[in-house]
């Protein structure tokens, strides 16, 4: 019976029952499971025979009695310099020359030890080869696969057992008919390093780097091929290149727009300056129609000013150069400020701005200036698209009960948006061309930016509308403490 174990302990169950003349194997199970005996042999690393003067007579009799034998030998099994197990043999007779028997057992244990050591080495080598990320192939002189590790098999989306004996070239170059193909198996007598592309039968393609090293053993000639899959790296490099180009492009765009916006602002500032001087009566009294027309110029100058600002803002969003500075935010204050800013615009069109904030709105952790931007944008749009004398309703309520979020809605009483047009309103540069009776265009950049801002906060922005009944833009913000870190 063979007991195997680790460095200090032997498994109490036998690892193998080698044979027992005239006795059923299951009868032996447990017969020699005598921890003291196993431990003694293990620790001392010596063979013992029973009965023996070296072992206490009572113990000796007890062990033999339990095993149902009259004599026995137990020898340690050493593999790789360590005792790894115990070989136990028993006999139902006492006529053996115990020393001879012990010598036989030692020889047997030596052979078992060597076999174990070999098995462990093989297993270790396999483990090592399967642990490396590179594919490792053994290829014989005929181009057939004699060995492949796990990574190699995975590259071919197969398993090692399925690949052994197959032709390497036809597997990695599915459609290749090139007689001089570098992967066609004739790697020659020199070490060779190269780059290649694998084309698998299923259409997949890999970029690889390989090293082919000639391997000779006895009359066998072959090649060890080590292959590194560089597909990811190539893809990452391409992506990085594209990203670099995109950044460069955005940088140029930013510079150009920055310059253009400066150039536009200078004359605009002069127009703005003198229109307001005239409107404020600093150059003499103005009246009636004059005031009305100057008011129109002034509003359009302001509109231009906002558009110039949006141009740069939109590019910077695209470049991702926005970081949120979150802090506890009282939404009622932000709403009040936004409405105050837009009061003049609303008053000019005789539009009522109704604001209601529920008492139980949750606290939010947000970037106040960014949320103010979203609010201003949405309310400004609502005012813009509501006809004179209409109303805009702004409300802040606790969102649906499950997530305890904050939900803010801005509803106008304008012309609304046709259903097929709704999904497009958040597109960059959407112009709202199909909105009926549009007197003012241009809410594209703003909404695109708003949606991005809300999503950066972990919220959602959407629009509902029925043509002719106005539309409602709503967004949520996660309650403080629930936003993703």
């Amino acid at each position: 019976v063979l007991y195997l174990g680790g460095r200090t302990e032997i498994a109490p169950r036998p690892a193998a029952v080698i044979g027992f003349a005239g006795v059923a194997t299951d009868e032996i199970e447990g017969f020699f499971d005598h921890p003291e005996l196993l431990e003694h042999v293990m620790k001392q690393s010596v063979g013992i025979a029973l009965p023996s003067a070296a072992i206490d007579q009572d113990l000796s009799r007890e062990i033999l009695g339990r095993a149902g034998v009259l004599s026995m030998v137990a020898v340690p099994i050493a593999a790789q310099g360590e005792t790894m197990g115990v070989l136990v043999m028993g006999a139902r007779m006492v006529s053996f020359d115990v020393e001879d028997w012990l010598a036989f057992a030692r020889t047997a244990s030596l052979q078992i030890g060597q076999a174990l050591a070999l098995a462990w080495t093989l297993r270790q080598n396999h483990f090592l080869l399967d642990s490396v990320g590179e594919g490792i192939w053994g290829i014989d002189s005929g181009g057939r696969i004699t060995f492949v590790n796990r990574a190699g098999a995975e590259m071919l989306e197969s398993e090692a057992t399925m690949l052994i004996g197959k032709g390497f070239h036809s597997l990695v170059h599915a459609p290749c008919a090139e007689p001089d193909c570098e992967l066609a198996g004739r790697f020659g007598d020199d070490r060779k390093v190269g780059e290649a592309a694998f084309h698998l039968g299923n259409g997949a393609a890999l970029s690889v780097e390989y090293t082919a090293t000639p391997a000779h053993e006895d009359a066998q000639r072959g090649t060890v091929l080590i292959v590194r899959d560089t597909t990811e790296r190539q893809r990452a490099r391409k992506l990085a290149e594209l990203e670099g180009l995109r950044r460069q492009e955005l940088q140029v765009k930013d510079e150009v727009l920055s310059h253009v916006s400066h150039e536009l602002r200078t004359p605009l500032a002069a127009i703005h300056q003198f229109v307001t001087i005239l409107l404020d009566g600093l150059a003499g009294p103005i009246e009636g129609e004059q005031r009305q027309y100057l008011g129109i110029i002034s509003r359009n100058v302001n509109h231009l000013r906002v558009m110039i600002g949006d141009l740069l803002e939109a590019t910077r969003f695209e470049a991702g150069g926005v970081t949120l500075k979150r802090e506890p935010v009282a939404i009622a204050d932000l709403l009040a400020q936004a409405c105050e800013t837009l009061a003049i615009l609303a008053r000019d069109k005789a539009i009522r701005l109704n604001v209601s904030v529920d008492a139980d709105v949750p606290a939010v952790h947000a970037d106040p200036s960014r949320i103010a931007q979203v609010l201003t944008n949405l309310i400004e749009n609502a005012v813009k698209f509501t006809p004179e004398g209409g109303a805009v309703f702004v409300s802040a309520v606790r969102g649906d009960a499950t997530d305890g979020s904050l939900c803010i809605s801005v509803a106008d009483t304008g012309v609304g948006i046709l259903p097929e047009e709704l999904p497009k309103v958040f597109d960059n540069h959407y112009q709202g061309t199909n909105t009926v009776n549009l007197t003012r265009k241009g809410f594209g950049i703003g909404l695109h930016v708003c949606k991005d801002l809300v999503e950066r906060h972990g919220g959602r922005l959407w629009v509902e509308s029925r043509a002719g009944e106005g539309c409602t833009f709503s967004f949520t913000l996660p309650a403080a403490g629930s936003e993703p870190r």
């Binding site: 400066h262 602002r265 500032a269 300056q273």
Partner: protein, 124 residues
């Protein structure tokens, strides 16, 4: 209370005229400079209470004017409000770092401008 004096440094004559009209209507006295080179001399001669400074100027830009003024003890304490068409993302931090009190981007609303001047002259 004596009338406060504002030095307007801007190379655009339209801007100088417009700002002048607006500020005089706000009961301020106005003096002008049209370039960076004469701006410092004007500041030393006129001893204004507040300076409105454009950034894009011939003969030494607004940043240079800010640097020079900071180095002259008599001028270092005069509050400077930058009024420029330039992008704040590129210029505001630099201007404030060189000692400007405020950064206003053109076009500037009259209320904003007058409030900034008032805040700058407070306590002086």
């Amino acid at each position: 209370m004596s009338q406060k004096k504002i030095l307007i440094i801007d190379d655009d004559p339209d801007m100088r005229l417009g700002l002048g009209v607006r500020l005089r209507a706000g009961k301020y006295a106005t003096v002008f400079a049209a370039d960076g080179a004469t701006a410092i001399a004007a500041a030393q001669r006129e001893r204004p209470d507040v300076i409105l400074l454009d950034l894009g100027l011939p003969g030494g830009d607004g940043f240079l004017v800010l640097e020079r003024m900071a180095a002259i003890p008599r001028l270092a304490s005069i509050p400077v409000i930058v009024v420029t068409a330039r992008d704040p993302a590129a210029s505001e931090a630099k201007a404030l770092g060189l000692g400007a009190r405020r950064f206003l981007q053109k076009p500037v609303d009259a209320e904003t401008l007058l409030a900034a001047i008032e805040a700058a002259t407070e306590g002086s």
